[in-house]
């Protein structure tokens, strides 16, 4: 049975986008832009998790979290536009289990939601993800990548690049986006350094590093995963 997520975000466009991502990840999603409505939905619909915006126009997200905490233990992921330390602490004190600061990658929100639910004992995909007819297996929970039946030893950056590319097979990732995802926003350097990591990664996983099939180059764009996901 798919877990139900209650999405509380007043910015319509953001709400719709997050909703698509969560639904695509297999969750059933209820959404509202009002804190008061969120509280009533939380009691009637009994969601498995709340994605809650801190800056709501009616009731603040903090108030919603506090009131909800008084009666239930539904996990809460806080979306906050405030990144200062005190606000994070305040959000966590109000009962949030985790937080994501705006602007965020919607996929990161999905990953956090999955992580919280997994922590909470909810069944998550224990099976490693499989690509290219089993040529590549990625087991995120065990942090292991297997290529043609062989476990590969990867550096954290190489692992990050591979997992990012594999998250949406076929989608092009620019060097800048890869750096941001792998190293975080504080990275402030020459984005071509990602090329050397890709080169090392290819040496480890490709049969012919000069003619790559798994991590392929898109001229003028960046990189993408050359394999399709097996379902």
């Amino acid at each position: 049975m798919a877990a139900t997520i209650l999405l509380v975000e007043d910015e319509t466009k953001l709400r719709d986008l997050l909703r698509s991502y969560l639904e695509q990840a297999g969750f059933s999603v209820l959404s509202t832009g009002s804190g008061a409505e969120a509280l009533s939905l939380a009691t009637t619909a009994e969601p498995d998790l709340l994605v809650l915006d801190l800056g709501l126009p009616d009731l603040g997200g903090e108030t919603v979290a506090r009131e909800l905490r008084a009666t239930s233990s539904t996990p809460i992921l806080m979306l906050t536009a405030r990144s200062s330390e005190e606000d994070r602490v305040a959000g966590l004190e109000a009962g949030a289990d985790d937080y994501v600061t705006k602007p965020f990658s919607p996929r990161e929100v999905v990953l956090r939601v999955q992580a919280i639910l997994r922590r909470g004992g909810q069944s998550a995909t224990a099976e490693p993800a499989s690509y290219g007819g089993g040529a590549l297996l990625i087991d995120e929970s065990r942090h292991v990548a297997t290529v043609r039946g062989e476990d590969i030893d990867l550096t954290p950056t190489e692992w990050g690049v591979l997992v990012t590319l594999a998250s949406v097979p076929g989608r092009v990732y620019s060097r800048f986006e890869l750096i941001n995802r792998v190293r975080g926003y504080e990275f402030d350097g020459y984005e071509r350094i990602i090329d050397s990591h890709v080169k090392n990664l290819r040496r480890k996983i490709e049969q012919d590093a000069g003619n790559p099939e798994i991590v392929t180059t898109v001229l003028g764009g960046g990189y993408r995963l050359g394999l399709a996901r097996d379902d």
Binding site: K13, L14, S20, Y21, R82, K102, P103, F104, P106, V168
Partner: protein, 454 residues
């Protein structure tokens, strides 16, 4: 980077501090006063002593003349007269005497008289039977009277030297004590200034026990610190506001683009237009930040001149006439002259903003009114609309930067116009207020001090 300690002047053998300067000044003044006193004392005292001696000598001379007259009177002539009493009196007082008759012949002379020429010499006539019969001349050689003045003078000098010593000591101690009282608050102000310099924003001098000038310095310093603190706070608030406001459009753009890249959304014209709107929102925000910065700067450099608020309102209304016409909103003007001190261009900017807001929230057909006129000591400009109104809970927030009402989500603008208007009005020493009945309309009221015809 310079360490604050480096700013202090190099320490000399005797530090050039307020303390030493004060102590030295006190000492100098005290010594000068004592010296002046000494000089004057010596001058006047020696005069007094001389007078005293002179009087004594005159008296003695008269006494000797009296004794000589008594000798004369017993014989009625000088020949054979007994003048020993006169000679004895002279000898007793350490002086030499010569007695002459009425024609200047010497009738008696003491042995040392001739050799004591140059000594102080006094003369007195001798009267016998009521007529002058001769003269005595007395020369004072002994120390018994002439020494008195020098002894007196040396005693005085010693007294003065002692007084000078005591005065110097007192001056030094007083100087140090006063310096201590003066330098303690100064040192306190220095330490607070250093703390401020080191970034302690709450550092204040507070009340000090000090002379008035230092108290004023302390107060002025604290006021300056408050102003700096307020400006710093405004700057922080602005940066925080900007970061906060940028996050939402950026979050939408990021999520929206990722959805396109991830294939979760199709790049349909509708999708692209929606994302493009967010870019426009960001661009406008950047524009308005520049306007806000310019308004902040303008608020600091207003050229205030007497001008008629009614004329400003009229020209602002003229400028917007076509937009009102296009929207089918009637603009009613009720303008009475009211002269205020204002920067005309900035004031027109404020009025234009108020009218634009009224237009933005007025449904077609509902008229907007602008009223100008004097009210007591003030000039009032009121813009009233019959639009959707503002919920009571939102009223206090409408002048906040970037604040946009919930119903404003569909309208353009980033909510900075009113913040700028309020800022400019404050810089004109006036204020801007709002009242509203949801559903019935909003009144924005601009109040400026009226210029009274002097």
């Amino acid at each position: 980077m310079t360490d604050p300690a480096d700013i202090r002047p190099a320490r000399r053998a005797v530090a050039d501090t307020l303390r030493t300067r004060l102590a030295v000044s006190f000492l100098g003044v005290a010594l000068a006063a004592v010296a002046l006193l000494a000089v004057l004392t010596v001058i006047f005292a020696s005069d007094d002593v001389s007078t005293l001696v002179h009087n004594q000598r005159t008296e003695l001379t008269n006494g000797i003349a009296g004794a000589a007259a008594a000798g004369w009177e017993r014989r009625d002539r000088w020949a054979g007269a007994d003048l020993s009493a006169a000679l004895d009196l002279a000898a007793d007082t350490g002086s030499e005497v010569r007695i002459t008759d009425d024609v200047g012949r010497v009738v008696e002379i003491s042995p040392g008289f001739a050799s004591s020429a140059g000594r102080p010499q006094y003369q007195a006539p001798v009267f016998g039977d009521g007529r002058p019969v001769g003269e005595v001349t007395v020369r004072f050689t002994g120390e018994r009277l002439s020494g008195a003045d020098s002894a007196l003078q040396s005693a005085l000098i010693w007294a003065i030297v002692a007084a000078a010593g005591v005065a110097a000591l007192l001056a030094l101690l007083t100087g140090l004590a006063v310096a201590r009282r003066l330098t303690r608050p100064v040192r306190h102000i220095i330490s607070v200034t250093r703390a401020m310099g080191a970034g302690v924003r709450t550092a204040r001098v507070g009340p000090v026990r000090a002379p008035e000038e230092l108290r004023e310095l302390a107060t002025a310093f604290d006021q300056m610190a408050d102003v700096l603190d307020r400006q710093e706070q405004l700057r922080r608030d602005l940066v925080a506001d900007v970061a906060h406001e940028l996050r939402t459009p950026v979050a939408i753009l990021q999520a929206g683009h990722e959805a396109l890249l991830d294939g979760l959304a199709e790049p349909t014209p509708a999708e692209l237009v929606s994302l493009h709107d967010e870019v426009l929102r960001l661009a406008r925000m950047v524009d308005e930040l520049e306007t806000l910065a310019a308004a902040d700067a303008a608020a600091l450099h207003l050229e205030l001149r007497p001008c008629d608020l009614a004329e400003v309102a009229s020209s602002a209304a003229d400028g917007l006439a076509s937009r009102f016409g296009a929207a089918g909103v009637q603009l009613e003007r009720r303008l009475a002259p009211a002269v205020v001190m204002a920067d005309e261009q900035r004031l027109r900017q404020v009025v234009t903003n108020l009218l634009t807001n009224a237009l933005k929230f007025s449904p077609g057909g509902a008229p907007v009114a602008i009223d100008v006129g004097p009210a007591g000591p003030d000039a009032i400009l009121r813009v009233s609309d019959h639009g959707v109104g503002i919920p009571a809970a939102d009223l206090p927030r409408i002048f906040d930067r970037f604040w946009r009402g919930a119903q404003a989500a569909q309208t353009s603008g980033s909510g900075i116009g009113l913040a700028i208007a309020a800022e400019l009005v404050r810089a004109h020493h006036g204020h801007l207020s709002a009242s509203s009945q949801p559903g019935a309309g909003t009144q924005m009221t601009l109040t400026l001090p009226l210029v009274t015809a002097a």
